[in-house]
Each structure stands twice: as structure tokens, then as C-alpha cells.
Symmetry: C2
Subunit: 360 residues, 2 copies
């Protein structure tokens, strides 16, 4: 199958009519694809693929060669920035990302550099350029970074966490240290997203995986405010101000009102959030992205079809919707379930959408 052109994502972002919602899936390039696993076995590791622009481009394109998706998302990781800061990112099989040198002391944070991505993360920008070129501008490429709070949790905890005890000790005992760390991540993330946009990303997304472990007051201060600072800086820069930003906080369903006021163009919803409740809270203008349970792809095609029908009925004729899951693809999903999901959207959505088939 060759890659089909699509401008559905950019049309929806411009407020133009489409024939069905643009479809892409968080972690659409990844372990659930046999061709990904084959390439990873050859490359040796996840990080080796991220750091090699040709391989990262190849992995980015893999799902597009199988499915009619409406966007590519560059294959990379939310922890490239702290890796470039010198913390020593590595992956322990079955345990997720870890850092050789976590930062916990104020002096350690003071020594951290703000990242100049053109130097230390050039491989990401090269991968974007290669992907844009391969796609011949027929499909938009999404760039991304982790939210400062989420990235900070890994930097301080040294890896994934259940209780987030170490960073919460910092939050409650030394908030000025945490703020300094977040400030450096904000500045680095602005530089990073700007470089990705210059390299050709048409949309950028900020992934906040762990904002949901904070109280409402702490969330606004330590997770939302840094994300907002990134958005404001992008909006203030003539080079980046036209590029839409997708904001996504897992567990952020109780903060939709402040999230909707952050300056983002698209708000990503997780699967625990009711779509209709979210729409009522954020008003009619904001574009919403999401939000089926990634585990739904364990179900039969019939059950997938039913749940797609329920979601599309909740979206209704209002549109302003980007179809996606409420979190990343799970690694043990069968690719044919993704095909069933996309087919269900393409069958069910047109009744709500004004335009005839836009496929090209």
C-alpha cells in the first residue's frame, strides 16, 4: 500500500470542512507492528532507532504504509531533552526509561544546560526533514515534546515512578529547586519545538503524562503554567506563531477549563474523560482530540465498531474533532484491530460530516 495524501488535519485546524475527522493514533509507530520489531532487532535498541535519522524516518513512515492515517508523528521520545542535558538515558528491558545521573540537588539543577537543539538534538530535526521530504508535503508531520513536569519526574525520580515520592519531596520541601528545573525545561522545550517547526513539523504536541498525579493547585502551578509558558513563547515568535499546538494531560479531566484557556488549538482527552462533558466544559470553539481507551483494541472488530459509533455520536455534527485514542497504542495489539478502527471511522463518520470523500 502506498501512502495516501491527506490534508484533513490541516483543514480541521483551519476550521475548514472535511469528509471525516482526521485520524492519527498516539504511538502509531511502535512495537505492535511486526515491521517495527524487525527493524528494532536489526538496529539493536529503541534509542539506536531514535538517534539515527534514517531509521527514525523509516519507523515514522511504517504505520502510514499500512493504514490510511491523516498525519505522521515523528518517531522519538519525550526524554530526548534530559538526555541531551547529560543525564544518560537508557532503557532497562521491561522497566521503561531510566537515567544514569538523576538530578535532586539544587546545585545539580543549576549546572544543567538549557538545550540548543540544533546542536545536541540535530538527529531529531534531521529525522523530521527526511520524513517531510519522503512525504512530499502530502501528509503533515507532528512534532512533540514532553511537558516540563512530566520530563522532570523522570529526571528527579531517575525513571518511572508509582508514588512520585522524590519529586514530591522536592515540590513540598524545595519548590524553588523544582521551579528552576521546570524553567530550564520550558526554555529547552521552546527551543526544541521551534527547531522542529523549522525542520518541517506542521503541528506540535506537548505530552503531559503525569500532570494527573498533582492536586489541582499544584497542577496549575507546576504542570499547566510551564506548558502555557511554552505555548506563549511559540505564539510570540513570528516563525512559530502559526503552528497549532496540541496539549494533552493524562488524568487532566478535572482541569479542562484551565487547559482550554492555555492558548492551545487542540486539547487531547484521555479515555477516562467523557467527550460530551468535555465539550460542554470547553465550549464549541476548541478542537478536541481523542479519546477511546487504547485497550479497546483488544476487543473484536464488532465491539470496536460499536464504540467508534458511540464516540462519533457524542461528537455529532459539531465536528472540531481529531480522532485518536485517549493514550498511546499498547504494544500487544494486533495491527488488524487498527485497520478495523480506521474502517469504522471511515464508515460511520460521513453521516455527520458535510464533504464527500477527500481521499486522494
Amino acid at each position: 500500500m502506498s501512502i495516501l495524501a491527506s490534508d484533513r488535519l490541516l483543514r480541521v485546524l483551519k476550521g475548514q470542512a472535511v469528509d471525516h475527522p482526521p485520524i492519527w493514533l498516539m504511538r502509531q509507530a511502535g512495537r505492535y507492528l511486526p515491521e517495527y520489531r524487525a527493524l528494532r532487532a536489526k538496529a539493536g535498541s529503541f534509542l539506536a532507532m531514535c538517534r539515527n535519522p534514517e531509521l527514525a524516518c523509516e519507523v515514522t513512515l511504517q504505520p502510514l504504509q499500512r493504514f490510511h492515517l491523516d498525519a505522521a508523528i515523528i518517531f522519538s521520545d519525550i526524554l530526548t531533552i534530559p538526555d541531551a542535558m547529560g543525564l544518560g538515558l537508557y532503557f532497562e528491558p521491561g522497566e521503561g526509561p531510566k537515567f544514569e545521573r538523576p538530578v535532586r540537588q539544587h546545585a545539580e539543577i543549576e549546572r544543567l544546560p538549557v538545550i540548543e537543539p540544533e546542536q545536541s538534538l540535530a538527529y531529531v530535526m534531521q529525522a523530521i526533514q527526511l520524513t517531510v521530504k519522503a512525504l512530499q508535503n502530502q501528509l503533515p508531520v507532528i512534532g512533540f515534546c514532553g511537558s516540563p513536569w512530566t520530563v522532570a519526574t523522570y529526571m528527579v525520580e531517575g525513571g518511572p515512578s508509582k508514588q512520585f515520592s522524590i519529586i514530591k519531596k522536592m515540590l513540598y520541601q524545595a519548590p524553588q529547586s523544582l521551579t528552576l528545573l521546570l524553567d530550564k525545561l520550558v526554555q529547552s522545550s521552546i527551543n526544541y519545538l521551534r527547531a522542529q517547526i523549522i525542520a518541517g513539523a506542521k503541528v506540535v504536541m506537548i505530552f503531559d503524562s503525569w500532570g494527573g498525579v498533582l492536586s489541582q493547585a499544584d497542577y496549575q502551578k507546576f504542570s499547566l503554567a510551564p506548558m502555557q509558558a511554552i505555548i506563549q513563547a511559540l505564539k510570540a515568535d513570528p516563525l512559530t506563531q502559526a503552528t497549532p499546538v496540541i496539549l494533552f494531560t493524562k488524568g487532566g479531566g478535572q482541569c479542562l477549563t484551565p487547559l482550554s484557556q492555555s492558548g492551545c488549538q487542540v486539547l487531547g482527552l484521555d479515555w477516562m474523560t467523557d467527550f460530551k462533558v468535555a465539550r460542554e466544559q470547553v465550549g464549541p470553539e476548541l478542537i478536541l482530540q481523542g479519546n477511546l481507551d487504547p485497550a479497546l483494541l483488544y476487543a473484536s472488530p464488532e465491539v470496536i465498531y460499536e464504540q467508534v459509533a458511540t464516540l462519533l455520536a457524542q461528537v455529532g455534527h459539531h465536528q472540531k474533532h481529531i480522532f485518536n485514542l485517549g493514550h498511546g497504542m499498547l504494544p500487544d495489539v494486533l495491527p488488524e484491530k487498527v485497520a478495523a478502527l480506521i474502517a469504522a471511522v471511515k464508515t460511520l463518520a460521513p453521516q455527520y460530516y458535510p464533504l464527500p470523500d477527500l481521499s486522494s
Copy 2:
């Protein structure tokens, strides 16, 4: 220090005035107390303490000998029911609870017995009886169980989980198997809470640690409905109908309206939920419990004092509040921080409360 009598919890549950909100803390008996760690070293393990009524009673009383708390909660575990069903509960150091024989096939679930707790969980009822006797009815004892959904996650996954992939496969591929498992847990939990009430528990609590990983529709079907079935059975039984039920779903902040209509007398709030928003959603009648971040106890006494002040101001003159954290005590908190927390409530609350000091 000797244990002070208090009827604050029962007074609030009856709608009577108090001098300050009743205070208790989820996992108030536990690893953060040096006397607990000493007893555990002697007993050999957490499970050995749970299963020995004298030791379970002693652990239950430990925090009351240090702090002016307004309730005891029986020292036990949410996984006693599946252990009694024969799954073989054990604890891997640093990894949490595990089962030797998880259940995943329909036939395995069909073979599971409904628990008759007077036989297989007699040690829990004996521990409650000993505790009630030791407290001479001067402080209420809270009994508890895990929610059917939460208990089922451990039974199916075989231990703690991040993605809940195995039980979600069951949910989406074999919902009738999951429903059968939940039905057996509902029936066992009704028997179990009934036996705890007969043994002397004055209040019972249902802990739903993992309802928050479900979509709203799945939550209502697979987590809330089974809890509601337990509550309805207790309300229909003359022996148990007067005993108040506390319902707590971590991550349930988006389901407060259905939770408030479940028949519970008290709704526990986690720390991610804004107290004022919750009050507006559930109306003025329901008693709310919670909801400070357990990690706040890493902070200085001054910061703890400020946050208690903020919460009590949110509660205001309305009362109908049981002071607690939004989740269990963390194991590495210093006991003096708990003392600071309680002192802050006792200093700050009386301005909002009508009665003079009720301490006896």
C-alpha cells in the same frame, strides 16, 4: 499517651454538631511508625500480622496511642477475600501483593467459591472484636473491603499493574467472565462487611483503588455498579442497614455525581479532586471525606499548616466533613508530621465549628 475517647465520627454521621471534623488517616497504622516496623520484624511479615488477631489489634491501636485520632481502622488488607478463595496471596519485597494462582479462564472463575467469612476470614472478625474490646466503645472501629473491580484487577493480573492489559482483555473480549468474577466478589464482600459489622465495626469503607483506569461507561458498569450492589444489600439487611458506608474511588473525580447517588453516606475524595468543586457537584447533604495529598506530609509543619487552612476554608461553615488524606499514608513520612497535621486541624477548625472542645 493513652487513647482518648471520641464520638466525633459517629456524631457527624448522625448529623450532630462537633467541635472539629473527625480526623482519621487512610493507612494510619503502617510502615511510617517505628513501633509498626518493630512488630513486623518480630512477626516476620505483613501477612503474619494480618492473620494474627492479637497482632492485628495491636497494630490497629498503635497510631491511636500516638495521635488524637477519631477512629480506628482495622489493620488488614483489601486482598483477604481472594486469598480466602484460594489464590495464594504473597508479598514480593518492593513489588506489592501477588497471587500464586491468578484467575483468567472462565472455568477458573466458575470454580471460585463465594466466601463465608465466619469460616475462612475468622481472623479478621476476631481482630475487630479484640480492638472493639480494647477501645471499650470509646472510639469507633472502621471495617473495610476492596471494591470488586479493584480486587479483580489483582486476581486477574496476578499482582499490581500499570496498563491492566490482562483484565482489560477480559473486559473487552469476555465481559461475561469478568461479570461472573465481579458477582462472586460482590456476594463475598456483602458477607464480609456484614460479618465485620456483627463483629463490631461501626462504619465500613469500600476502597476502589483502580476504578480510575476505566472509561466513564466502563467505570459505571464494572466498578460502580458492583459497589452499589454491596451497598444496597447492606441497606436491605436489618443487621447492617444502620451502618454508614464510606465509598472511595481513587481517580473518581469525574464520577462524583453517580458516586453520590450510590447510597453511600460518605464519599471519599482523592487529592486530585478540588473540594469545592466536589461539594458543588454532590450537593449539601452528603458527607465528604479527604482530601490532602499524602505527599504533603513531606513538607515542613508550616506548609502543612497552610494547606490545612486552605482545605478547612474550602469546607467552611458547611461541615459534613471527615478530615483525611486523599489516599493512604506514605511509608517514609515522619510521625511528627502527622502530629503537625492533626495539631493544625485542631487549631484551625474551631473557628468554623459550633461546639466547644469535645475531647474527653
